[in-house]
């Protein structure tokens, strides 16, 4: 009988990613309801010391595969390692982060484990002893409650949504052999972006600009505000298609679906596909000249005015607050 709530911890460049602690905390909560243990799979090279950090957030056992071939991340090596230890231990539930790496790894695992998964969940609970995973579909135009009739019941959890809760447990390390065969894929090169750039998918605050920014140079005022707030700068499809901003920054149904604490939409009218991608943000601010823009219907706070005057003024106000 499948038992236990497991996570796949995500690490990069020698440090656990924040989503790993979110996963551990979510897993702990469900495991307590089921009266079961939390297990974490940790793959990489020289990663054993990270196990103690996972223990702080409620992990009872950390299954560590330490192997040079697991660094840097590749789909086939990590999926092979995780599938092996999961098959040996038969957990009931398996969580991964819906990050770039987690989405890639989790989908491959669904194939290897022949099971079902709810992608990019915003809530998970136990109903009748089984996992019930809540997730946005159609980029958030509706939600689905997913149940899985196979083990492990898998879910990838949207980063930044699940609270991190400290709960010290043993975090006993169990080493395992990754069982790697010949590598089918390898990383040829890593192209780093400018240091300090925050990805919209991971940001707590997003300052986003649309067609109303009038051109790429208009984003300078958003960059300044974002810098103060520790925010990422996002963009609408119109701005990306016009070549003003990189594709990686696009928020919406054909870009990234985000849920930051604060989303400041500047010069974005609010096309349905954009609204779908950001409506689950905790607080939404809209700054737009057009009082009729659909974005105002989703905004907690709206300012109908010229963004080129409001944004610099807001930057000054934030400077005062943070001083």
């Amino acid at each position: 009988m499948a038992k236990g709530v497991w996570i796949v911890a995500e690490q990069r460049d020698g440090a656990l990613r924040k989503v790993s602690f979110e996963l551990a905390s979510a897993a702990r909560k469900l495991a307590d309801q089921l009266g079961e243990e939390v297990g974490a799979v940790l793959c990489g090279s020289g990663v054993e010391a990270m196990a103690a950090e996972l223990a702080k957030y409620g992990v009872d056992k950390v299954y560590v595969a330490d192997n040079a071939a697991l660094e840097p991340y590749t789909t086939d090596a990590h999926a092979t390692a995780v599938a092996k230890i999961v098959k040996e231990n038969d957990p009931a539930i398996l969580f991964l982060g819906a990050s770039a790496q987690g989405k890639d790894l989790s989908a491959s695992l669904v194939g290897k484990l022949a099971t079902g998964m709810a992608t990019d969940c915003t809530d998970v609970k136990i109903a009748d002893g089984k996992l019930c995973a809540i997730r946005p579909m159609y980029a958030g135009k509706c939600f689905g409650e997913i149940v899985i009739d196979a083990f492990p019941q898998m879910a990838s959890l949207r980063p930044n949504v699940f609270p991190i809760v400290e709960c010290a447990k043993a975090g006993a390390v169990v080493k395992f052999d990754a069982g790697l065969g010949e590598a089918k894929t390898k990383v040829a090169e890593v192209l780093k972006e400018a240091a300090g750039k925050i990805d919209v998918a991971e940001a707590n605050v997003i300052v986003s600009g649309g067609r109303g920014m009038k051109g790429p140079e208009g984003y300078a005022i958003l960059e300044e505000l974002a810098g103060l707030l520790g925010a990422a700068v996002g963009a609408s499809r119109a701005a990306v298609d016009a070549g003003w901003r990189p594709q990686a920054d696009q928020v919406g149904q054909t870009g990234k679906v985000v849920s930051p604490n604060l989303y400041i939409a500047c010069g974005i009218s609010g096309a349905i596909q954009h609204l779908a991608g950001m409506s689950s943000s905790k607080y939404i601010v809209a700054i737009n000249k057009d009082a009729e823009a659909p974005i105002f219907a989703r905004a907690d706070y709206g300012i109908v005015d010229d963004l080129f005057k409001v944004v610099p003024a807001l930057t000054q106000e934030v400077k005062k607050l943070l001083a």
Partner: protein, 257 residues
């Protein structure tokens, strides 16, 4: 080169989605159906490879009768032939059952490379391409924004948070396409005329030897949680006054800065 591109017909990005009263699904009336935008990047890349290396592009799609329209669109863009998997047993298929059916259909055609969209914009699962690769036992690169092929050597670039990784692998493989890979072409009028005569094979689950059984299901669809009505800030009519009011609310009421 034998190339397969998997496509799905989905509601247009501007479509409003209404949940059925009993939560069993979405209302399909009035929806405009289009090719999943991420699959368009896959079809375009398939056509570019064919133009460079020669060969054939086969379109594989699963869905009800209306799906034929999307297959014809891909054929009009320049693909040679199509396979439509149409069986009521598969209409609510999850990612695993979908990949199983696609894999069974693809096993019947020669392939060197298979394209899928990184996700379909309806159920947003982002799983099918990866499961397909696992079932076929071939490597995969997901979320590709750039692809280079030299002989059987494959290099694909995929963005990760704050960086991009160039992954090296070899044919045959599955590539899932994302925005940035290319600019999909429009079907030309002669292309549309020619597409009408191109062959499309229609398969049932039994033809493919799959049961259609899903591992997961959507037990209930719900509308998104309603957002409380917002405030338009106008205590002071100047941009500076509105900005000050906003900063105060974000600090004291929302507590987010």
């Amino acid at each position: 080169m034998n190339i397969v591109a998997c496509v799905k017909q989905v509601p247009d990005t501007e479509a409003q989605i209404k949940v059925k009263g009993d939560g069993s699904g979405i209302e399909e009336g009035g929806i405009k159906w289009v090719m999943n935008p991420y699959d368009e990047f896959g079809v375009e890349e398939a056509l570019k490879l064919k133009e460079k290396f020669g060969g054939e592009v086969t379109i594989v799609s699963m869905g009800p009768a209306r799906t034929m329209e999307t297959i014809r669109t891909a054929l009009a863009m320049g693909a040679e032939k199509g396979i439509q998997i149409d069986d009521p047993a598969l209409y609510n298929a999850d990612a695993y059952a979908t990949a199983e059916a696609l894999a069974a259909a693809i096993k019947g055609v020669p392939y060197d490379i298979i394209f899928c969209g990184q996700r379909s914009i309806d159920d947003d699962s982002a799983q099918v391409g990866s499961i397909l690769a696992e079932i076929l036992g071939i490597p995969q690169v997901t979320f590709a924004t750039k692809l280079e092929i030299d002989g059987t050597a494959v290099k694909a670039t995929r963005p990760i948070e704050g960086a991009a990784v160039v992954v090296a692998t070899s044919l045959p493989c599955v590539i899932t396409a994302t925005k940035g890979l290319n600019e999909p072409r429009y079907a030309s009028l002669p292309g549309i005329m020619k597409a009408k005569k191109k062959p499309v094979d229609i398969k049932k689950a039994a033809d493919l030897g799959v049961s259609g059984a899903s591992k997961s299901k959507v037990a209930k669809f719900t509308p998104p949680p309603a957002r409380p009505p917002g405030k338009i800030l106008c205590a002071d009519d100047t941009p500076e006054g509105k900005a000050a009011e906003l900063a105060k609310l974000l600090r004291e009421e929302a507590k987010v800065i």
